[in-house]
Symmetry: C2
Subunit: 167 residues, 2 copies
DNA sequence: GACCTTTTCTTGAAAGTTTAACTAGATAGA
DNA sequence: TCTATCTAGTTAAACTTTCAAGAAAAGGTC
């Protein structure tokens, strides 16, 4: 067991505090920025757009709900609501899974694919402008390594971690 | 003017796609992680906690609404709702601004400060575990530089940028 | 002063998310 | 088989955020 609850807290150094705050500022601004860009140009928040992208790259443009939730790093409940909304837009439809009667597949429709094709260039451009055009190749590489490390830290293999899509 | 809407899109390279996805994965997981940690230990989402931290560090534990929104990188509307909720909890109260009758100050109460002191060690520990313990000093430094660059890119000085707290 | 514009902040409704509870089907053990 | 447990997904209610609109004060111009 740890003694974290009783021992003196290891406060952040000034440098760490600056980095932490910069992280929060940048991620908050970026999320706001992309949510607005996609709400304006594609009529949905960024996380919904990501779901369509996932589906477009999946075999036969379909994916099991839990698998999609795992890829998007969100809860199944959140995904249920999201797919319901996208279904109303006609961009996704649900389909029973043949091998498991509890299961559902989310399927990207032709309309959904069309919408994605139309909005992709603008979104890529936005991502470039906000991120890749501002960083050196070394920074891009470093950012990738850092983000992979942090993500892995929160979803360690073979443990009982509290992962969104298992809740 | 640009020709972005008509010229061929500059698609992301494989490397850029991997970095972009890693960024989305890590930030989504981290936000979920800290929101849950603070909801459990302090009874509020992470962004609300950040507001109390800001107030605790401000002179006389108070700050103008727009100033607080700017620091937190959120809209004034969002802040209004958040402060209303924190007021209900007794952790913040509102106060008229003497020099500008339109203005309001958000003031951290004694109860709010107590709550903050009680939950700070656990939160710092969570931040360490999820971020600083997993990165080398070089990575921490690099992350700070990258995040500062990205944040600055979205709030350029002296322009008519679409910043949340001005909407 | 009168008028117009801008700034500050709030509000109500709509949209999205979380939490806990629930249904139905799969799985494993006696 | 029968039963307990687990997994897949949904749902209702509470909460948070966004969007659009608006009230009130400040600032600028004539």
């Amino acid at each position: 067991m740890t003694t974290a609850s009783t021992s003196a807290p290891r406060w952040l150094t000034d440098e760490e505090q600056r980095v932490w705050r910069a992280y929060l500022h940048a991620t908050t601004l970026l999320e706001d920025h992309f949510d607005r860009q996609l709400q304006r140009d594609a009529g949905m928040p960024h996380i919904y757009y990501g779901l369509l992208v996932q589906l477009s790259q999946a075999p036969r443009r379909r994916m099991r709900m839990t698998e999609l939730a795992r890829n998007a790093k969100i809860t199944r409940s959140r995904l249920s609501h999201a797919i319901a909304r996208l279904e109303k837009n006609g961009w996704v439809r649900r389909e029973d899974c043949s091998s498991d009667k509890r299961g559902q597949n989310a399927v990207l429709t032709d309309d959904g694919l069309t919408m994605l094709r139309r909005s992709a260039p603008g979104h890529v451009e936005a991502v470039r402008q906000a991120m890749f055009d501002r960083l050196t190749p070394e920074q891009v590489s470093s950012l990738g390594e850092i983000m992979r490390t942090l993500a892995t830290g929160l979803e360690p293999e073979g443990t009982d971690a509290d992962l969104p899509w298992l809740r």
